[in-house]
Each structure stands twice: as C-alpha cells, then as structure tokens.
C-alpha cells in the first residue's frame, strides 16, 4: 500500500460535478504526475461537502485547507503553491461575507460551525467508491456488533431507546416500526430503502447515497437482521444516475468482502440487496405506493391497514425506511442509544439534514441537531438573506409543509414544533424567501406540484387540489374575491381531512400556512388588486414617470399593442386598459422612466 503524505479531496456531488469537478480531479491527477508527486498525494472524489453555494470544493488534508469555487484552471496553482511549496492559495479560500475575513479550515466557517454530522458523517470525508475507506472509518462494525453481540431484540431496543424517528417526513419511531415488522411471523420479509426523493428542493438522500452508499447497505443489513428479513430493496429515482452507479459499486464491493450475501461475518445471517428504479412519481414516497411501484404497477397508495409491516412487497411483511433514517443506524449501534438521544430535543432526537436553498447566501446541505432554531440555520449557517434583502418566510417540508414567518425564527426545530406551527419536517427541504417573493404565488407553485403529482385515485386530492389551484390562479390573475379566501380555507380542510394518503392529507398545507401567516398578501391581491411583492404579472402596472421621460418614443415604438401614446419630446402615457404587461417598454427605456407599480 502506498503511504500518501497528502490527500486532495474533490467534491463529487452532483452540484459540484455540474461545475466540472470531474475535470478538476483529472487535472490534479495529471499535474501531480507531471511534478512527480503521484505517489505522495492522493486525489479522492468524495461525496457532497454540503456547501454547494461555494462549489466545487477541494479540501487538502492533513493541512485541513478548504478551497472553494475551484475551477479546472486553478488546479495547477494549488499544486505548485500549496502542494509543492506549502503555501495556501489565498484567493481560493472562503471569505466570510460578514467579516470579510478569509478562513482556511471548514470548521471555522459559520456554515459548518453549528453543524453536527451523523448521517452525513462520511460525506466529503471518504471515497464513496472504496469500501476500505468506509471500513477504515468504523464501517460495518455496527453490523458486526449486531451479529456477534446483539440479539435482534436488543438491537431494536437500542434503536427505540435512541429515539430515532423516520426522517422521510412523518417521523414515526423507527425502532417501533422495526419491532412491529419483527413480530409479524412470516418466512419471507423485506427491508426497503426509500430513495425516491421527490421533494422538489431536497437532495439529502441522494447526497448520502452518492457520498456514503455503504452506510445505507450496512443499515439495511442490520434492519434485516433485526426484523428477520434476508432481502433488501433500494427504490431509487432513475433520475439519480450518479447515486445509482455509486450504490451499484458499493453493492459489488460489499459482496466481494462478504458483507452481503450468505453467512455474513460467519454468522447464519444472510442478506442480499437489489435495486429498483422509480420513474418519476412523487406519490411513490408514500410507502404503499412505493411498494406497488416496486411490483411493477401504477404507484397508487392503498388504505392502511394493512400496513406494509403486515402486508407489503408481494404481500410479505416489509419495513420501509428512507435513506437518511438508515444512515443514522450504524452510529447508533456503535456509539449507543444514550449518545444519540443526548442530541436533540425531548421528542426529537439526533440531527436532521436540511437542504438549505432559496434567497440565502449559503445554499447547501446541512446537518444540524434537532432543537436548533430557524434563526441559527438561516442567519448563522445560511449566512443570511442574499443581496441584503428582507427575510420574509421560510418554507419547510416541501409540498407538504408550510411557510413560516419571522415569528417562528426562534422556535426550536423538531417534528412537533414544526407541526404545531402549521408546517412539518418533511424530508428536509428548507427554502428561504425574501421580500420579492409573493406568498400567493408560492402557494400556487406548491399546489401546481401537488396537482402534477397527485395519483388521481381519491376525489379530494384529484379534484379538490385542482379547484384549489384554480382559485389561486384566479387570485394571482387579479380576479379573486373575498369569498374565494373562505373557499380556499374550507376546501383545504376537507382535503386534509378526507384524502387517502399523506400526499393529499398534507397538500393544502402551503395554502393554509400562507393564509394564516400572510393573509394580508392575499387580501392585497383580492381587495386592492395589488401584489405586494410585485410578482403577479396581471396585477402589475407599468407607469411612466413624467419627470424622467424624455419623450424619446422608444417605448411607443416597441409597444406591441399600441398602449403607449405621447408627443415627441413630451412625456408619454400608458393606457392601462390596453397594456398586456409584456414589459417591452420597461426593458427598452433608457432613462429609467418606466416604473412597475
């Protein structure tokens, strides 16, 4: 084995790959060879570092130097300066946007300071395509401990005691779920990993599979041991080619090392894992729908009970957990339930991964202890609102969640608090909105998503959401009435109360939470015909400021509908009844004389 003196960790997550991190890696390899250091410095493609805003990321170890926004052109400089001469390349260091101080080590960055990485522990740390790196960092020792030292009952008890709850949305206690499945008697049982991440703005499951696929494999095997299943299935989005490829590699390696297959670690426990592909249906995040999809059918949910733990895949008892939930299992087994339950709040233990996005400075993937406040996440980790704008709202829980205001910024984040606040944990999307975002449009955006993704099986979701969307459209088109606001609320409640599955039962949340928290914006649309954020096109008015207008006639000539009139060298005028709000005049005006009102 070559003893490398230095490691160059290059982020291989999808975001960074999109920014040519593959090229960066190859450049490093070639250029190291040129200077004859290929045996001293190892170049490793890791999983996501999380700090996507600043990607591509390159980390130099053991110097612990964190380079951001690296381009393929920067590699030679890093080699010549840092590797050869031991000098940091200052212009690639992260600059704190507030203090303007350059920071070398990631742990000193606000983005990382408050993070606690359990599920993401190996992401950005190990090479996901090398099982030995995983083993080197304690990998498969939890499985080993289970097989040699723990009975299924005692392992499940550890999970129960840890307080781990499902990270996919609902927050059902994981240990309890395992225990229920264990108690159902059947020759054949299944462990299913739900990797069909569908929330449009959450990508933690993919990052884990890309950055640390073995943790999922290990956890599924542990689950199999605990519930008495020898077969596992990973249901993964076909749109995640990189995660699929990494998972496949990991499965092959695990088999080669005997960590999957017959008689694992010399025990009488055998376990195999197969991959199943999702095909683009958000509703398949619901476990019964997921199971139907794995069976080759339309991914429609069915009424529970029977629960999958009783009758799941092919009618057999099946335990379904999502990727992030599984990623928490091995550390709990190795470090103990007490360690895990010491993190977090009373009813929500451990950490949660969030995909932080939207109008925020530090977009990325973060893992924080339960109980952290939204303020800490948004202002400390997230670095505050982009371009110095005003914070308006943060949306959590994706299409099932709600939009929270300033008032909730100091609420500790956990399952129950978010629910009480009218939102939910969901899979962990966290989208920050600023003063320019129209909350009615945001609600409409989510409804459009739900509408697209509703399976259509039950009436409230199929037709109810369509009607909700139509009402919202009416409002953003400036045709809403006060009565529509009442209708929105009443229909939302019925849909929540009577839909078949979680998708329908939560689909009105974005509407209800915006009605609760941003009623004034709805009222402005309905009563005053105004969109306070200036986003709803139909409610905009292009107006010419007389003082600034030089009468150049450029707007007049560019208006496609002849709505502008005026004499040359005299202020022009826009006839609002004719204006189609195309914005052509606004774009053309050279004197900033046209304002949006």
């Amino acid at each position: 084995m070559t003893d490398y003196k230095m490691h160059l960790l290059v982020c291989g997550g999808t975001g960074c790959k999109a920014s040519q991190s593959e090229q960066i890696k190859n450049n490093f390899k070639n250029q190291l060879q040129e200077v004859g250091l290929e045996n001293d410095v190892q170049v490793i493609h890791t999983g996501c570092f999380g700090f996507c805003e600043q990607g591509p990321i390159v980390k130099v170890q053991p110097d612990n130097t964190f380079y951001v926004s690296v381009t393929p052109d920067d590699t030679r400089e890093i080699i010549n300066e840092h590797i050869v001469k031991g000098r940091q390349v200052d212009h690639l260091l992260y600059t704190d946007p507030n203090t303007k101080v350059q920071i070398t080590e990631s742990k000193n960055m606000d983005f990382y300071k408050k993070q606690v990485r359990i599920a993401l522990r190996n992401c950005g740390f190990i090479n996901p395509e090398n099982i030995e790196e995983y083993i080197g960092n304690d990998g498969y020792s939890a499985l080993g401990k289970c097989l040699e030292e723990l009975t299924p009952e005692s392992a499940i008890k550890m999970i129960m005691d840890s307080g781990l709850r499902g990270r996919g949305g609902g927050g059902f206690p994981t240990g309890l779920k395992w225990d229920i499945t264990r108690k159902v008697e059947n020759e054949q049982k299944y462990v299913v990993c739900n990797a069909d991440e569908g929330d449009p703005g959450a990508f933690m499951d993919r990052s884990i599979l890309e950055g640390d696929p073995h943790t999922v494999i290990e956890a599924m095997a542990i689950c199999g041991y605990c519930i008495g299943a020898n077969k596992g299935l990973v249901y993964i989005r076909a749109e995640y080619p990189l995660a699929i490829q990494r998972l496949k590699t990991a499965l092959t390696q695990a088999r080669e090392y005997g960590l999957l297959g017959e008689n694992i670690l010399g025990s009488d426990f055998s376990f195999e894992i197969e991959i199943r592909y999702g095909a683009g249906a958000f509703v398949c995040g619901e476990e019964t729908a997921l199971i139907h999809s794995m069976e080759g059918k339309r991914g429609e949910p069915t009424f529970k009970p029977p629960f999958p733990s009783q009758e799941g895949y092919l009618g057999k008892p099946t335990n379904v957990n999502n990727v992030e939930t599984f990623a928490n299992i091995p550390p709990i087994i190795t470090k103990g339930a007490d360690w895990f339950s010491s993190i977090g709040t009373e009813k929500s233990k451990g950490t949660k991964v969030f995909a932080l996005a939207g109008k925020i400075n530090n977009v990325g993937l973060i893992e924080v202890p339960m109980g952290i406040t939204l303020r800490e996440v948004i202002y400390d980790i997230g670095g505050g609102i982009k371009n110095g704008k005003e914070f308006k709202s943060v949306q959590t829980g994706g299409p099932s969640g709600g939009c929270l205001t300033n008032d909730f910024l100091d609420t500790p984040i956990d399952y129950d608090n978010l629910l009480a606040a009218g939102s939910m944990m969901g899979s962990g999307g966290m989208i920050v909105m600023d003063e320019d975002d129209c909350m009615v449009s945001i609600a409409k955006f989510y409804l459009e998503f739900t509408l697209d993704e509703s399976c259509g099986k039950c009436t409230p979701c199929r037709i109810g959401n369509k009607r909700l969307y139509e009402i919202l459209e009416k409002i953003t088109d400036g045709k809403g009435t006060p009565e529509d606001l009442t209708k929105l609320r009443m229909l939302s409640h019925v849909i929540k109360d009577s839909s078949l599955c979680g998708l329908g039962q939560t689909s009105p949340n974005p509407i209800l939470s915006t009605l609760d928290n941003f009623m004034h914006e709805y009222e402005a649309h309905v009563n005053d015909g105004k969109c306070p954020a200036g986003q709803c096109k139909a409610l905009l008015q292009y107006v010419i400021t007389d003082e600034k207008c030089t009468g150049c006639t450029l707007c007049f000539r560019n208006c496609p509908v002849g709505a502008i009139s005026g004499e040359k060298r005299n202020p022009h005028y826009i006839d609002q009844s004719l204006c189609i709000k195309c914005g052509a005049c606004y774009d053309k005006c050279k004197f900033d004389a046209i304002k949006i009102a």
Binding site: T14, K17, R276, A279, G280, A281, R298
Partner: protein, 168 residues
C-alpha cells in the same frame, strides 16, 4: 388490434430485455426503463410487444407508462432541454427561464421542435440547488441561468454540436 410494425431487430431487442427479467409481470417498470434507455421512447407498438412478452394486459402497460413522468411515448429531440422547477430554482427565477425557452423554441413543455433538434421538459430538482436556476441540455448542466442567457445556450447547439454536449 393494430399490427406491430417495428423492425425485426428492435422487436428482438425488446424481447431480449423482457427475457432478462424472466418475462415477469412484476418487472414491468424495469423492462420499461431498459427499453426506453435503448430506444429513447416507448411508442405504442413497443408497449404491445412488452405486454405480449410479459403476458399482461396492454391497458395495464399503458396505465403504467402514463402514470410515471419518466416514461415518454414521444421521441426526444436531439438535445433534450430540461429546466429544473424545484423550489430552489423556482424562487430564483426558473419560471422566467422556462418561459424564455418556450418562446425561443416556440414549443411547449413535453414537445419537440419540428426540426427534431430540441425537446423541452421541466423536472423537479436535479439537486444542484447551489447553482439555481439550473438547466440541463443532454448531460450538460448549466447553472445560474438567466433568461438573457437562453439564446446563447440554444445557439451553442444550433450550429453543429459541441462534442461534450452530445446527449446520452
């Protein structure tokens, strides 16, 4: 029933894929994935072959194909353009970018341009939220796209095609 008018070797390819999955009805989605991978889309005739091989109802095959947004019955353009409409991209202006693509290509989402060069689709979160709004053309990802950049992106593919942008 309409008679199948596919080329002999296409039919054989499909049959081979079905056989790989033991002609099991439960493997329908896997079969559809592989066939679409090979042929680019799943026209009616292809579904007929699959239904026959898996000994299942054609209506059920069609029911599955129309349920999942990943499956398409229309051939894709030479350069499939996808605009990410995930929330992060949406709040950073993806809709305006999509509108611009629609306007410039003069096609709607789900359509292919008459010359077969471009097809347009929207997708939910490619996971490059740091680069929002994101557009993919084939396998190439464009980050922080503004409506103003749209014409430049289209132009890249209109004269010949850049080698790295060739779709898979």
């Amino acid at each position: 029933m309409p008679k199948i008018k596919l080329a002999e070797n296409t039919i054989n390819q499909i049959k081979e894929i079905c056989a790989q999955f033991d002609n099991q009805e439960g493997e329908l989605i896997n079969v559809l994935h592989q066939v679409q991978n090979k042929l680019g889309y799943l026209p009616a005739e292809v579904q007929e072959v699959i239904a026959k091989e898996l000994k299942m109802s054609l209506a059920k095959v069609y029911g599955v194909v129309t349920f999942y947004s990943f499956f398409t019955m229309l051939p894709q353009g030479e350069h499939p353009i996808s605009i990410c409409m995930g929330t992060a991209c949406y709040v950073r202006g993806a809709e305006q970018v999509l509108t611009e693509f629609k306007r410039q290509l003069n096609i709607e989402v789900g359509q292919t341009s008459p010359d077969g060069k471009f097809s347009l689709s929207s997708l939910r979160c490619v996971g490059a939220c740091g680069l929002a709004p994101v557009v993919t053309v084939g396998e190439k990802v464009y980050g922080r796209v503004s409506p103003q950049q749209v014409s430049k992106i289209i132009a890249e593919y209109q004269q010949g095609c850049p080698s790295e942008a060739k779709s898979a």
